[in-house]
């Protein structure tokens, strides 16, 4: 295995959980989530040469992951037959006093996020990952004020969807 490939895989390994969470935010069926996950990895690998190490690898990865997810064309396969088959078992929270309620809430959150538009999903991702407003704005290519206003609107929409 080439050293660049090995280095890339090592870096990706640390962040694959977050990348898969992005896929879960953007796609509702398991198949589509896996397709998007693979697509993000592929696009990241394709652009890896351009990663200059000026920023954190995670920052760079999130930008490519979200850009890929935003323009990803949802697969039309089995659309009319597919239902969201994500059972509560697929959302696992690992802690000693395991509580099924947390998993149900997580499922509810993902279902609500999936109803948001692509840009709002990206904003919510930055919020959930605790990315500062300035960095969020830089990643999206908009002003910080605009990013904050949009984030507040997206959070409000998400809150309403969860409460429904």
């Amino acid at each position: 295995m080439a050293s660049q490939e090995k280095e890339f895989l090592e870096k990706i390994e640390k962040h694959k959980g977050v990348v898969f969470k992005i896929s879960k935010m953007y796609m509702d069926s398991r198949d589509d989530q896996q397709d998007l996950f693979q697509e993000i990895i592929y696009q990241t690998w394709k652009s890896y040469d351009t990663f200059q190490g000026k920023s954190e690898f995670s920052t760079w990865l999130y930008r490519i992951a979200l850009n890929t997810a935003i323009i990803f064309l949802k697969s039309q396969k089995r659309k009319s037959f597919i239902r969201n088959d994500d059972s509560v078992e697929n959302f696992k929270i690992p802690h000693e006093d395991y509580d099924d309620k947390d998993d149900r809430n997580l499922k509810k959150m993902y279902e609500a996020i999936q109803k948001l538009n692509s840009i709002d999903k990206a904003l919510i991702f930055y919020y959930l990952e605790d990315i500062p407003g300035k960095e969020m704005a830089a990643q999206l290519g908009i002003s910080e004020v605009n990013a904050r206003v949009k984030l507040n609107r997206a959070k409000e929409k998400l809150k309403n969807l969860i409460e429904k």
Binding site: K21, I41, I71, K92, L106, Q139, G141
Partner: protein
């Protein structure tokens, strides 16, 4: 439960069933842009095969030699033009979608490339207009029954046929473009607007 609690859940979540990462397998993936490229390849081959089929049919039909030669040259030129434009389309799609840019820049870049492609498409269809008219002139000229009809009837038939052919070409181009690419342009445009607002 407020959003900060959901944020805590998100951070605690351990994602299960993450697909195996293999860079070898990535070659098999059909990316969204790959789907568009695939549509273009399909368009290219179907247009080329159709034009070559027309060439073959013309050559085998029991028609006047001059007529066959003229039509053959016209259809052959159309095939060359098709090849030229599809070569441009393929080059264009090879370079599009720079996901490395900031989100808004990346979307604007993609939109620009789609719009450029649209202009290529319009030019491509416009190139067919003179060919179509020439072919109709030839058909009329080489059809004996049209030599003896009154001028006003001839003018009506010819102008009517040209109009029908041009409208059909326009509608075909429009439907084709909207079906394969128009929906993507609309989607990207709405994303750019959403982010720029």
């Amino acid at each position: 439960m407020d959003l900060d609690n959901y944020k805590q859940l998100w951070n605690k979540e351990e994602v299960s069933e993450i697909p195996e990462i293999s860079l070898e397998k990535q070659k098999e993936i059909h990316t969204p842009l790959e789907k568009i490229r695939r549509n273009m390849r399909l368009e290219f081959w179907s247009s080329t095969i159709l034009l070559l089929f027309v060439l073959g049919v013309i050559w085998t039909l029991p028609l006047a030699y001059k007529f066959k030669l003229y039509i053959f040259i016209l259809v052959f030129s159309m095939t060359m033009i098709t090849m030229f434009f599809y070569n441009r389309f393929f080059k264009l799609y090879k370079e599009i979608a720079n996901l490395n840019l900031k989100t808004l820049e990346s979307l604007k870049d993609l939109l620009f490339q789609f719009e450029l492609n649209k202009q290529y498409y319009i030019s491509f269809y416009l190139c067919f207009v003179p060919f179509l008219v020439c072919e109709m002139i030839l058909m009329v000229e080489f059809t004996p029954k049209y030599q003896y009809v009154p001028h006003w009837v001839f003018t009506g038939i010819f102008v009517g046929s040209v109009l029908v052919a041009l409208i059909t070409l326009y509608l075909l181009g429009k439907v084709f473009f909207e079906y394969f690419y128009g929906k993507h342009i609309k989607r990207i445009k709405s994303l750019v607007n959403e982010l720029s607002e």
